[in-house]
């Protein structure tokens, strides 16, 4: 019940395309859903996050869509660029009392954006 399932494992798109990465969860107590971007040899960098009280959030070229009833959320990258090539992780947490609870990560999606 603590798992976060992520798909696809890898993704190749052309420059300008819109890669979509999907995640699903079971624990209905999760109430904070961030996405992280990780380049080789670096730590994960927070991209964007959403709470279950909204269905969509946009920050620049990154959009999260959230479906509470289906317990699914996804990341869309608009106008993708070769510099977006990285591994993307979804995560979930129970954000009790305003403190950050442990993050449960998906298995990651390796994205390659071809020029």
């Amino acid at each position: 019940q603590q798992q976060v399932k992520q798909s696809p494992q890898s993704l190749i798109v052309q420059k300008g395309g819109i890669p979509i990465i999907n995640c699903a969860y079971e624990n209905t107590a999760f109430d904070y859903f961030p996405w992280y971007q990780q380049f080789p040899g670096k730590g994960p960098a927070l991209l964007i996050a959403i709470r279950p009280d909204v269905s969509e959030k946009k920050e620049g070229r990154f959009t999260i869509s959230f479906n509470k009833s289906a317990k699914q959320f996804s990341l869309h990258i608009m106008d993708s660029q070769p510099g977006d090539s990285a591994t993307y992780f979804c995560a979930a947490a129970e954000n009790y009392g305003g403190a950050t609870n442990k993050l449960i990560f998906g298995t990651g999606t390796l994205l390659a954006v071809q020029p």
Partner: protein
């Protein structure tokens, strides 16, 4: 703002040895969490420290221990190293005010 800093960046240890990894949180952050990331996998939560106490712990053996200092920096100690402990160890800092957690660049531990 230096962000979350970890040291050392790389480390090679022999099976059975002990290792200490260090983390300085982002300015203004009082909570430090440690994660283990095996090659090709997502980070796995080890434990979290707040006010110098271990607040939560993941599914890791007692060989993994930690400490938080009054200045909020933290150490991760691993005893009796196994080959399977080879991984990228990540430190994340946060504050009780907002849920966002920020990661350091990690320490790559290789056990031979």
């Amino acid at each position: 703002d230096a962000g979350v800093t970890q040291s050392p960046t790389h480390l090679i240890k022999t099976r059975g040895q002990q290792v200490t990894l260090r983390c300085s949180p982002k300015s203004g952050h009082d909570t430090v969490s440690w994660y283990q990331q095996a090659l090709g996998q997502g980070p796995q939560f080890i434990f979290q420290y707040y006010e110098e106490e271990e607040r939560q712990r993941g599914n890791f053996p007692d060989r993994f221990s930690g400490h938080q200092f009054p200045n909020y920096s933290s150490e991760l100690n691993v005893n009796a190293l196994l080959l399977g402990d080879s991984a990228l160890y990540l430190c994340a800092s946060s504050t009780g005010q907002v849920p966002e957690a920020f990661f350091g660049q990690g320490t790559r531990l290789t056990v031979v």
